[in-house]
């Protein structure tokens, strides 16, 4: 027959748990290092599976000690009869409830991770705010921030002893029944094997206290004066006292109050555990970062008794940010990084995530990010607090990520908006004809498009977040990737500032083709099969045929894209711009300087520029760098020394002296409104005769969801040639300038084919677009190539003749191309001869063709040039003294008759 004193209750189970905690704690003291708790715990988890098991055992037995103690309270409290303990014992019991929580929380603090450090700080602040004795109490309990000595002492001695005494005193038992020990040990062993005690990886931004205090944390977060919450504690202890000692009414009311409090606290605990994420923000289970911010703290590996790496590899694995990472114990020979991103410097999980404390492949790789750096995961990887948060904030607002201009102009040409300048983003595409068009044909070229396959960035690449520019595969890495058949790879690609033209190629060999233009390649309409076998031809992406044209002079000199375009242009400066010319900062005049250069001393550089400059060029102290005029950014690969301006290529460090612009570029008379590129552009790709139609049966693609679909917009092109660009006018707030323009859209769009709506016909547009062709020539174009050229003036190709008859001169234009049936102008024209246009004439609201008066002025000089050679003294003089020369015309001069 069972004797009453050997009955198993929650109380006796709690006693069993207590002794298990003490026993496991004594043994745990062996591998635990009080002087570096975080490192010693991570060492345990990685190198000492038995210690890891014991640590779990210690953790779980302590949690169950708490739980069973609370249930034990409930067991005794839910009876109607009076408990009637003596005052002394009751006071000590209430106090021991507090001490139990203190023992638990000090145990939580002793793992030394990010959760613990912040919890420690909160405890210190709360204690310090107790009047009179607060400061001493806080210090006596927690000690100084650098040492865990006092916390350790209190956890293993002070609180343990007190609990033991209180426990024995009120139960009058030392030991629970033997069966309790057996059941408890067995249960805890199983749980300890399956679920490891928590340890924060010190990277995830969400920090929380232990589960039993999370409800308290929820309360704290509402209180402006959080120290009043300590009174809640006091009230609970007093209520427990009353239940233990008081009579009838008081006891009953105290019991009810405790019940209400328990229910309320449980709800708050659930809220705190499952609905609070980073910065204690409300996070719902269906939000994007729920898994990362909330569920992360529940992920825990089981104990692995035979880790998948050798002990030696584990011991030799480096300590990163205060703890060991198990990744490097298996991936021992991984190399190929730059110094700042090497595995020894930042470890693996700061980029790839996963579990740094698990010792088996499957558990370590859980929730790993194979290809970090895509914009969706950049805030968790490249952009974590200790790394590049400011950059990761800027990039998504830049044009390469939003595609604002591309989308707005497209919608403008589909007549879905009346101006092309609205700010928008590729993440806000809908289902209109323009948006579908963009999804079918255009928007894969945005940084948010994820890179999903391993391998280098090449002409086929589109997007990839940070990797789009910063990923570099060495030859070895590429070779190993190709040859690898599933084993551990050793050569890792590098993340570096070595951004080459190859990185830009994928996207920028399309649209304006500036990548290919720059190198002197023009895309033809030939099929790959039609490509002649000659070095003047080249195949890109296996199907596009390019022919050799004149390369940009800067390319000839060895400059790469990034030698001009700096990080605040490419990664954005945080402003959401409407068009590329707004986000773009560098101008020709920033390097080719007329007069005194604008400079900044190295000591005054902003931090980011200073770091990169030093990384690329070594010691920069004392250097004076050039500063851009538009956005006042330092050009870190330039410097002014001894009245000379020097330029360094960023990737190869090639030094060259910068030339000032020639005299004819800087005079203030004729041509002062011309942008440099108006004269110094060798050619620009021009396309005419496009037609857009939607074919519901065409095999198409949705570039947002990255899925194939049936039905797509199809573009039919007319002609695609490399020609000298047309000139147009851009009017901004500060200035009016003449810029190169190209036929962007002389096209028809069959809207009806998409909407099926009878009211929708075919849209016709004749729009030119501002261009930055990137085919800079060192010698400017000839005078006649603008003044006597119909294409330059906007009339289109053809014969522009100055006919002189009976002493009168008249300009006559015969277009080469037939008239377009939509508006009667030649197929490639912008404006009619000696006419101008208003309204929708270009892809910008600030770009216009020449006015009639301007055309007349240009053609007047053109008339002179039909007789006078452009290098003749009179023509050269007219550049600086036009009025004077004009007034002195001889009787042989025949000026145009405009009637």
């Amino acid at each position: 027959m069972k004797q009453k004193k050997n009955k198993t209750t929650f109380g006796t189970l709690a006693v069993a748990m207590f002794w298990l905690v003490v026993l496991s704690g004594v043994v745990l003291a062996v591998p635990f290092d009080m002087t570096d708790p975080y490192l010693s715990v991570s060492n345990m988890m990685m190198l000492n599976p038995w210690a890891s098991l014991l640590r779990n055992f210690h953790y779980w037995s302590s949690q169950f000690f708490l739980i069973f103690s609370l249930i034990h309270l409930y067991d005794h409290f839910h009876y109607k009869s009076r408990i009637g303990l003596k005052v002394g014992i009751s006071i000590r019991l209430s106090l021991s409830m507090l001490i139990i929580f203190l023992a638990m929380i000090t145990g939580f603090l002793l793992k030394g991770d990010a959760d613990s450090v912040q919890a420690r700080q909160i405890l210190q602040t709360l204690a310090e705010r107790i009047p009179l004795i607060g400061r001493s109490l806080a210090y006596s309990l927690l000690g100084s921030t650098e040492s865990y000595q006092l916390i350790y002492v209190h956890h293993i001695a002070t609180f343990t002893v007190f609990i033991a005494i209180a426990m024995v005193e009120h139960s009058r038992k030392y030991w629970p029944p033997a069966i309790d020990f057996v059941l408890s040990t067995l249960g805890i062993l199983i749980i300890s094997y399956l679920l490891s005690a928590p340890l924060h990886d010190n990277l995830n931004p969400a920090v929380k206290g232990p589960w039993y205090f999370v409800g308290f944390q929820e309360i704290l977060h509402w209180l402006k004066h959080p120290e009043w919450s300590l009174l809640i504690f006091l009230v609970v202890l007093v209520l427990v006292y009353f239940v233990n000692t008081a009579k009838e009414k008081v006891m009953f009311r105290s019991k009810r109050s405790l019940l209400v409090f328990t229910v309320a606290y449980s709800i708050l605990t659930i809220v705190g555990l499952f609905f609070r994420g980073e910065n204690w923000q409300w996070t719902t289970p269906w939000s994007e970062h729920y898994k990362y911010s909330v569920l992360h703290s529940f992920r825990t590996p089981h104990v692995e008794f035979s880790p998948e790496f050798t002990l030696e590899a584990g011991v030799n694995a480096p300590v990163i940010q205060g703890r060991k990472e198990s990744c490097l114990a298996c991936h021992t020979e991984t190399h190929g990084f730059t110094d700042s991103h090497s595995a020894e410097a930042i470890g693996c999980i700061s980029c790839h995530q996963g579990n740094p404390f698990a010792t088996g492949k499957e558990q370590s790789h859980r929730n790993m990010i194979l290809i970090p750096g895509n914009l969706a995961t950049a805030p968790l990887t490249c952009g974590t607090t200790q790394c590049h948060p400011e950059i990761v904030e800027r990039v998504p607002k830049g044009l390469m990520a939003t595609l604002s201009g591309m989308i707005s102009v497209d919608r403008f040409t589909f007549n879905e908006q009346d101006n092309p300048d609205l700010l928008t983003s590729v993440h806000e595409l809908g289902n209109t004809p323009a948006d579908e068009h963009l999804k079918n044909l255009c928007v894969r070229c945005h940084l948010g498009n994820p890179k999903t396959e391993l391998g280098p960035v090449n002409e086929f690449s589109r997007g990839g977040g940070c990797l789009a520019c910063h990923l570099n595969y060495s030859e070895d890495a590429e070779k190993e990737l190709v040859e690898n058949s599933g084993g551990l790879m050793k050569t890792h690609p590098e993340i570096s500032v070595k951004v080459t033209n190859n990185h830009c190629y994928g996207c920028h060999s399309r649209s304006g083709r500036i990548s290919t233009n720059y190198e002197g390649w023009h895309e033809t309409t030939l099929l790959a099969s039609e490509m002649p076998d000659s070095s003047n031809y080249r195949l890109i992406e296996d199907e596009r045929v390019f022919v050799k044209e004149q390369e940009d002079v800067h390319h000839q000199l060895g400059l790469e894209c990034i030698d001009c375009h700096h990080s605040y242009e490419l990664m954005g400066d945080g402003t959401h711009y409407a068009h590329q010319e707004d986000q773009q900062d560098v101008q020709c005049s920033d390097c080719h300087i007329d007069g005194t250069p604008r400079t900044i001393a190295a000591e005054n550089l902003d931090n980011e520029s200073a770091i990169i400059a030093a990384l690329r060029f070594g010691n920069i102290s004392g250097k004076q760098f050039l500063v851009t005029e538009k956005h006042e950014r330092a050009l870190i690969n330039t410097f002014v020394e001894n009245d000379s301006i020097w330029f360094l290529t960023k990737n190869s460090g090639k030094k060259m002296a910068m030339k000032a612009p020639a005299a004819q570029c800087t005079r203030n008379e004729a041509h002062s409104d011309l942008a440099c590129s108006s004269c110094h552009t060798a050619w620009a790709p021009t396309c005419i005769g496009c037609h857009n139609e939607y074919d519901p049966n065409e095999r198409g693609y949705n570039m947002i969801t990255n899925r194939e679909q049936t039905g797509s917009w199809v573009e039919y092109i007319g002609e695609y040639k490399a020609k000298l660009p047309t000139l147009g006018i851009r009017k901004t707030e500060g200035k009016t300038e003449i810029i190169p323009v190209v036929p962007g859209m002389i096209m028809t769009t069959d809207l009806h084919s998409f909407t099926g709506n009878e009211k929708d016909g075919t849209i016709f547009h004749r729009l030119y677009a501002p261009a930055a062709p990137h085919t800079t020539s060192s010698k400017g174009r000839s005078c006649v190539s603008c003044h006597n050229d119909p294409l330059a003036l906007g009339y289109g190709e053809g014969k522009l003749e100055y006919l002189i008859d009976k002493g009168k001169g008249k300009w006559k234009f015969t277009p080469r191309y037939a008239a377009d049936k939509n508006d009667g102008l030649p197929a490639d024209a912008w404006i009619d001869f000696l006419q101008t246009r208003e309204g929708k004439v270009s892809t910008r609201s600030n770009v216009f063709p020449f006015s009639v008066d301007q055309q007349k002025n240009i053609l007047t000089v053109g008339a002179c040039l039909t007789c006078h050679d452009e290098n003749s003294p009179v023509m050269q003089r007219s550049l600086n003294h036009y009025e004077e020369v004009f007034a002195k015309q001889s009787s042989k001069c025949i000026l145009p008759d405009w009637k």
């Binding site: 700080q121 006596s140 402006k224 204690w280 931090n607």
Partner: protein, 127 residues
Amino acid sequence: MNTRRTFLQTAVAGFAALFLFFWNKITLQHLNTTTPKKYSFPFNKNKLVTFDDEFIVISQSETKVYSAHCTHLGCRIDKMEGNRLICPCHGSEYDLNGKVMKGPAYKNLTELKAQISEDGKTITIES
């Protein structure tokens, strides 16, 4: 009248109070003698925000040093988003002048006195 009992109870209470007094004194004296009054570390005037264990150094037109401890419950502020300093514990936000912008904190960050060395490379902060 049990004067012996009363005497003993009073004596025990008295000694307990004395012990409490000693404890308070010892702890405060220990704190005063061991807490460093000044911290020095390298300074970079071109870096907008530098986070340290105990301080945040902000260099705008002038350099100011603030305590890194959130005024709500003392958690260490270790990150900046947009132009706000954010506390990871309960989400309080401060602007770059230490002014509290979002609760639960309601007090501004404590500003600390600091001196920059003549060569501009070291900063010394009074705690």
